[in-house]
């Protein structure tokens, strides 16, 4: 159990692995980790026991590994920016990139000040190593607590806080930026910044706290290894509420309500973004193992399988339903597969990953078309990819979870692997809870911004484009002649 990311355990594990002197690790495992199979003990023994030097080795490698994974997750910001800019019009391209730039910039700071403390409440109480974060501690010199003396005293633990924060902050920025594309082309910049702050400071952290922070969901045995629900559904449902409250772009729907095509200005940029997201996901999923071990490559392979299956399925579905293989739909399909596999990547088999990804790829095409029919304008399909396929990912874990997860944990198996409906039920419960909480809070948030008149630009500004209206000049210079009739 100690290597999974289900519930509070991973953090206790961390505590165990670092705070306890390495030589006490074995007892620590037995004491804190609950019933564990023999292999856990031996593994733990192999990894942490014996020479202090040996223990430090693994600590260093673990920290460096998560650091590298976090950098990959941050790369996803560039990917989101390109996907969103590419699938919207040229007159809003700079605005989209600016929103993504601010998601990560504001996000890292706000998550440090507020979000992180909310997401992981219990675990860090009274840990001075953590005092460096949070409103109060922010004004201390938190490095005091990670000076070599402190390290020695604390058995190296505090140094893991920064890397864990670094990794988690990248996730928070990801959740926030999902919304940017759904509300593209008509949102006031100031309103978006306020939304972004609220999501990284409160909405996302609360949801994360339920599970990774050791909250009620984790007590149910809910499984969300890398965040199909916690990260993607949160972003996806916030995106839905944003698109809903803000309303469609001018001209998106004909008077009879039928959707009009508003082609993105650069599919090549969008697919470049998909490639960067694909790469970033190899930090997102494998890094969620929270330590450098031999499960990492398996997680990577399953991630690649789901991504590939998603892209192929979306291509095939669009081909079948629209007569031609749609490029941006295939891109959405790869993302859908990646989103869906996050939850169960530590629990499912190879064939499970392929099926989960393929179904996600088909779902996303249907969802994008369906959403449009309901009169909601989500230019990049953010809700379909992250919200719908995020939920599918949770359900899929309830169906495909095996009895022998990659990480040696002893989770309940899914319906198709003889585990009955209990895990499935928990997954659905969790999905509904996340959807409901985010829908309500994000709904209130966007409605409040709307009431305050900071949510949507004027019709004139929208026609002129947000680059000029909100930022003073077009994203593409006068030498990249941009046509009028759009």
């Amino acid at each position: 159990m100690f290597t999974t990311r289900t519930g509070a355990r991973p953090l206790r594990r961390a505590l165990k692995r670092y705070v306890a002197p390495a030589t006490l690790a074995l007892t620590a495992v037995l004491a804190l980790a609950g019933p564990v199979g023999a292999q856990d003990v031996s593994a733990q023994y192999d990894r942490a026991a014996a020479a202090g030097a040996e223990a430090m080795n693994m600590v260093v490698l673990d920290n460096i590994f998560i650091f590298v994974c976090a950098v990959l997750v941050f790369l996803m910001q560039a990917g989101f920016g390109l996907v969103e800019a590419g699938l919207t019009r040229a007159k809003n391209a700079a605005n989209i990139m600016m929103k993504n730039l601010m998601d990560v910039s504001v996000g890292v700071l706000v998550f440090a000040l507020i979000g992180w403390g909310i997401a992981y409440p219990g675990d860090f109480n009274g840990w001075l190593g953590f005092a460096g974060f949070g409103v109060a501690g922010f004004f201390d010199n938190y490095l005091v607590d990670v000076s070599p003396e402190a390290l020695a005293a604390d058995g190296f633990y505090p140094l893991a806080v920064p890397v864990d924060f670094f990794f988690q902050a990248a996730f928070a920025a990801t959740a926030a930026t999902i919304v940017s594309g759904a509300v593209a082309g008509r949102t006031k910049f100031i309103g978006y910044i306020l939304y972004s702050i609220a999501l990284t400071a409160f909405i996302y952290p609360v949801v994360v706290g339920w599970q990774w922070g050791g909250g009620w969901l984790s007590d149910q045995g809910f499984v969300d290894f890398a965040g199909s629900g916690l990260v993607h559904m949160t972003g996806g449902f916030a995106a839905l509420m944003g698109a809903l409250v803000i309303g469609p772009r001018i001209g998106k729907f004909a008077d009879d309500g039928s959707p009009r095509a508003m082609p993105g200005h650069s599919v090549p940029l969008a697919i470049t973004g998909v490639f960067l997201l694909f790469i970033g996901w190899f930090g997102f999923n494998p890094g969620s193992q929270l330590q450098a071990d031999l499960a990492v490559p398996i997680i990577a392979v399953l991630t690649a399988f789901a991504a590939g299956a998603g892209a192929v399925a979306a291509m095939a579905t669009s081909w079948a339903t629209m007569g031609k293989p749609d490029v941006s739909m295939a891109g959405n399909g790869m993302l859908a597969g990646l989103v869906a596999i996050c939850s169960g990547v530590g629990e499912v088999s190879a064939i499970g990953a392929v099926v989960i990804g393929a179904i996600a790829g088909s779902i996303v095409v249907v969802a994008v078309l369906g959403i449009e029919r309901t009169g909601i304008d989500d230019p990049v399909g953010a809700f379909s990819v992250h919200g719908v396929c995020g939920f599918w990912g949770l359900i899929a874990t309830g169906l495909f979870a095996t009895t022998t997860p990659v990480n040696g944990a002893e989770e309940a198996a899914g319906l198709l692997y003889g585990g009955g409906v209990s895990l499935l039920g928990t997954q659905i419960l969790g999905g509904i809870a996340i959807a409901a909480f985010v829908a309500v809070t994000a709904g209130v948030l966007f409605s409040a911004l709307k009431a305050a008149g900071v949510l949507r630009v004027s019709a004139e500004e929208e026609m002129a484009g947000l680059d000029v209206a909100e930022h003073g000049s077009p994203g593409y210079g006068p030498d990249m002649l941009v046509a009028n009739a759009v």
């Binding site: 000029v468 003073g472 000049s473 077009p474 009028n484 009739a485």
Partner: protein, 112 residues
């Protein structure tokens, strides 16, 4: 035959096209243009430097019609392209001595 040239606001193109189709105008040629006039332009800022954008986006529509159709066509354009706001554009009409359909070499009325 006469040539009608209309300068309109870009987003009115569809309406104008529809209006002309409804009076059986068989074809037209459209060009992206930029206009200068009473409407004036606006100021943009790039990295702190302000600059004036005098020319505003317009669409230019050209259609050759039979003399009998001129008034009908211009009226249709005016009706369709009119927003009442400054910058709606102009229409001018010039005489055409000859018109040829390249595909067939037909001349005059048969060519349009």
């Amino acid at each position: 035959m006469q040539l009608i040239t209309a300068i309109i606001k870009p987003h009115m193109l569809d309406e104008v096209k529809a209006a002309l189709k409804s009076i059986d105008v068989s074809g037209m040629t459209v060009t992206e243009a930029k206009g200068f006039g009473r409407q004036g332009g606006h100021t943009e800022t790039y990295r702190g430097a302000e600059y004036k954008v005098d020319f505003v986006p317009k669409m230019k529509i050209e259609l050759v019609v039979d003399d009998s159709q001129v008034v009908l066509a211009t009226d249709a354009i005016v009706k369709a392209a009119q927003t009442g706001k400054i910058g709606d554009g102009k229409i001018w009409v010039t005489p055409v001595d000859r018109i040829i359909r390249i595909r067939t070499g037909e001349l005059g009325v048969d060519a349009v």
